[in-house]
């Protein structure tokens, strides 16, 4: 049978995909059409089924029902290798590189260039170099050990791997999460190159401005179903998308800032803090009820400042005082006892015991307080955790499930619940909304403001400048390990912050 290809025949189609897990229906009828050369954006809250859908596409999960078609032909993707053979490559949200191997070894991981079992190292290096040049990162040397690279560069390596497969469809799961704005532009450039060559991109991001910038069409998932498809990425109003994603009308707004009482005491007092090689001479005072934001690029030292205040890194100079009491440098236990809490940047790696139940994660800093004479009181732990979970609208309800099964936003709520139970006087938040969807973001912003209103001193770090400005009362701009500006959040806008950051790096 001879048919003429219509110009817009989908490269990839998914029809009625259902994925049933024991006790949970992660996908409940997903349809997706991806055209050649388009950037197809997949939108949905955490828990809507995006990750599962990607895994079905990558061959990591088998669908319970439904059909996947490539070039109009039904296919079964039994494993990741099969997916790559079909030309579907996936860049996962979490970095999937092997730290101990070189850049080239990572790029060709799983499909090593070899003749009779002997690797063709020179060839691999040459091709890796080409791909890196294409990605606009010729400075990443093929022989460099990946573990020694910063996160953003590791992301590039991950992308290079996808490109090394001559993929026709590349799935990118929040590729910009660890990237700076100029690196995001670079990413967009690469995406344009790829689509011009007919490659289709399935792009997942929570950042609307990115979707507007490079997206062609949008498919919206909610509760494991496709609720809208074929929406134009440039003209669909954000409010409409949020309504589709959440099923309710939510304004993406920050809670109003509260007038600070004139006599609010200084709770956190940092003077001349320094960490050799990372940052120097950082001083800040945060009063009860105040939210202070640290704005800066990835690598500017902002996360390190938080971790040093917390004692997770030992300061090389300077002092940290909480309510007038000086903390010992490099002693997290003392910091927690003094009433500081940190919600770390890498929630899963640094914050949670993924296989433990939600309630034990919530009481991880306080179970000793519930205990009597060293004996655990799990009943009160569970009750307290349950109360917090309900107050924060943690979903799914029930604090006995492993926290691994929760979405990013709900895991972050559990982190905050931990410090709520602890009764923190100082709360340090590092990227509080990374991997958190729009609906849950607003909830987290409101929660942070509530904590401040209840008397906590809050310090927020975020790579999203609007977030820092919207949430904070006062902003410190950090560049190259120095504070280059300090002032009220209302007195500065995004462009001014960027200007300061650029100036700082030029100096």
């Amino acid at each position: 049978m001879v048919t003429v290809d219509p110009p817009n025949r989908p490269l990839l189609q998914m029809r009625g995909i259902v994925k049933q897990f024991p006790g949970a229906r992660a996908l409940d009828g997903v349809d997706l059409d991806v055209l050649p050369g388009e950037v197809h954006c997949l939108l949905g809250q955490n828990g809507a089924g995006k990750s599962t859908l990607i895994k079905v596409l990558a061959g990591a999960h088998q669908p319970t029902e439904g059909q996947v078609l490539v070039d109009g032909e039904p296919v079964t993707i039994t494993n990741p290798v099969a997916a790559l053979k079909l030309g579907v490559a996936t860049m996962y949200q979490e970095l999937d590189v092997v730290g101990g191997l070189t850049v080239a070894e990572n790029v060709y991981l799983g499909h090593e260039l070899a003749t009779g079992g002997v690797s063709r190292r020179r060839e691999a290096h040459r091709r890796t170099k080409e791909i890196m040049a294409r990605l606009g990162h010729p400075e990443i040397a093929p022989g460099r050990e990946v573990g020694s690279l910063p996160a953003a560069a590791q992301q590039i390596v991950s992308m290079a791997r996808a490109l090394s497969h001559d993929a026709r469809v590349i799935v990118m799961d929040e590729p910009s999460a660890v990237l700076d704005s100029d690196e995001v532009e670079n990413l967009f450039r690469v995406v344009h190159q790829l689509t011009a060559a007919g490659v289709a991109i399935v792009y997942i991001s929570h950042r609307m401005e990115e979707i507007r910038a490079i997206g062609d069409r949008i498919t919206v998932l909610k509760d494991g179903r496709t609720v809208a498809r074929d929406l134009p990425a440039r003209d669909t109003p954000t409010s409409e998308l949020i309504r589709l994603m959440t099923g309710r009308n939510v304004e993406y707004v920050f809670p109003p800032s509260t007038e600070l009482a004139a006599d609010a005491p200084v709770v956190l007092d940092v003077q001349g803090l320094a960490l050799r090689g990372e940052f120097q001479d950082v001083s800040l005072r945060v009063r009860a009820g105040e939210i202070v934001g640290l704005a800066g690029l990835v690598g500017s030292g902002r996360s390190e400042i938080l971790e040093t205040i917390y004692g997770a890194r030992r300061a090389s100079a300077g002092t940290v005082e909480v309510a007038g009491k000086r903390l010992r440098a490099g002693d997290v236990t003392a910091a927690v006892r003094a009433g500081i809490g940190l919600a770390p940047e890498e929630r899963k790696a640094q914050g949670l015991l993924l296989d433990e139940p939600v309630y034990r994660n919530i009481t991880l800093s306080t179970f000793g307080r519930f205990a009597k004479g060293g004996l655990l009181d799990e009943r009160s732990e569970r009750r307290t955790a349950q109360e917090q979970a309900e107050a924060l609208d943690l979903r799914p309800t029930g604090v006995d499930r492993a926290i691994r099964t929760l979405s990013g936003g709900n895991q972050q709520k559990a982190m905050l619940a931990r410090w709520l139970v602890h009764g923190c006087r100082v709360l340090l938040l590092d990227e509080p909304t990374r991997g958190v969807d729009v609906g849950a973001r607003a909830e987290i912003y409101a929660l942070v403001r509530r904590l401040a209103d209840e008397g906590a001193a809050v310090v927020v770090v975020s790579s999203e400048i609007p977030e820092v400005l919207g949430l904070s009362d006062r902003v410190l701009v950090v560049s190259e390990g120095r504070v280059v500006h300090e002032g009220p959040a209302t007195a500065i806008d995004e462009h001014a912050v960027l200007d300061l950051v650029m100036e700082g790096s030029a100096a």
């Binding site: 024991p22 914050g351 015991l353 433990e356 991880l364 655990l376 009943r379 006995d400």
Partner: protein, 372 residues
């Protein structure tokens, strides 16, 4: 800080009441009952996701599997050796055989649950048994009583454990290497002290106290029972146990939550050393002699029992009930071979096979739950 020490297993207190020995088996499989109004929902959720409650108790299915395996070995024993195998006396022989490795395995369970390993416990047992039977120690024991020898063994074991712990926690030496060094060094020190001679226990009161039976059951079996119950309690019911699971599950998260990970790591190795000291006392009670060859290769038996029992070698999940069952499986198997006059080489092959099968089954189990 004092709470850990208070809740550590009571060192060498044999002859404790018989009551608690029956408790851990049933309680281990089902952790704390939740509040009544909540339990229905909890169970629904647990059933729904297939996820287990609690990191420590976990998989009653896994425990059941071990019980079935143990029962199967017993059936084979009865079929092949009849009443020679299935007699009270033989059961007590099996339990005695299991006791010393059992106590080491309880200590090992803590270390492995926290993501560590202790290769030195067998050597430390040997060293403690030698140190407790030197002429000097025994002379003192003659004067002040048998307890001197017990305290000496416990102190030597704990001290060796503290050295391990300090090296690993504060010196940042990998646990495998630090305890390997202790394995070699403790054995050497034991040989040096004993001059490679066997040191008989001459203190009559020590023999009277630790040898023989209590209520028809060998005293070393009682010690094992007490240590196992104390270990179960410590792991599942105390803050020390919670810290252990947290440190093993995600050390960085534990540290950032304010848990003193280094200090706790040191305590864990001290605890394993203490267990080796207790095991040394039991060894002296059973054999009546301190020797530098006591406890040779016991560390491997202990690790095997812990892993077969279901404690994750990577940390974050530990089960004392599983460990006890693991120890009993190996001890029963050994007895089965002895009763049938079978070659001990075949027995070793069977042991190896059991370890592999147990771990394979566990991996299937964990990968199935991890996917949900």
């Amino acid at each position: 800080m004092s709470e850990h020490q208070l809740s550590a297993p009571p060192p060498g207190t044999p002859g404790a009441p018989a009551g608690p020995t029956s408790a851990p088996g049933s309680a281990g499989a089902t952790p704390v009952p939740p509040a009544a109004d909540e339990s229905a929902r909890v169970e629904r959720v647990a059933r729904g996701t297939g996820s287990r409650r609690g990191g420590a108790g976990g998989g009653s299915a896994r425990i059941l599997g071990l019980v079935v395996a143990l029962a199967a070995i017993c059936v084979v024993g009865y079929v092949t050796a009849g009443s020679r195998f299935a007699s009270i006396d033989n059961m007590l022989v099996i339990l005695s055989l299991a006791s010393i490795i059992g106590v080491l395995s309880i200590g090992m369970t803590f270390v492995i649950t926290a993501g560590g390993i202790d290769l030195s416990v067998g050597s430390v047992l040997g060293l403690a048994s030698v140190w407790a039977t030197t002429v000097a120690t025994q002379t003192m024991a003659d004067q002040y009583g048998w307890i001197v020898m017990v305290l000496c063994a416990l102190a030597v074991g704990t001290a060796a454990g503290v050295v391990n712990g300090v090296l690993i926690a504060y010196g940042r030496v990998v646990a495998f290497i630090a305890t390997l060094a202790m394995l070699v060094a403790a054995r050497g020190l034991a040989e040096l002290i004993a001059q490679r001679r066997t040191q008989l226990v001459n203190v009559q009161s020590f023999q009277d106290t630790l040898r023989g039976d209590l209520l028809g059951v060998p005293k070393i079996v009682w010690i094992f029972a007490v240590v196992a119950v104390a270990g179960w309690f410590l792991l599942n019911r105390t803050t020390f146990g919670r810290r252990t699971v947290a440190v093993g599950g995600n050390p960085e998260a534990a540290r950032l939550a304010g848990i003193a990970v280094k200090r706790h790591t040191m305590y864990l190795y001290a605890l394993a050393g203490l267990a080796a000291g207790i095991a040394a006392v039991m060894m002296l009670g059973r054999t009546g002699a301190g020797s530098s060859t006591n406890g040779l290769l016991y560390e491997l038996d202990a690790i095997a029992a812990v892993v077969v029992g279901g404690t994750l070698l990577s940390g974050g999940r530990g089960t004392i009930v599983g460990t006890v069952l693991g120890v009993l499986i190996f001890a029963t198997l050994t007895n089965l071979f002895v009763q049938n006059n079978l070659d001990s080489s075949v027995q070793q092959i069977a042991k190896g096979a059991i370890i592999v099968v147990a771990v394979l089954l566990q991996q299937r189990f964990t990968s199935r739950t991890a996917r949900t």
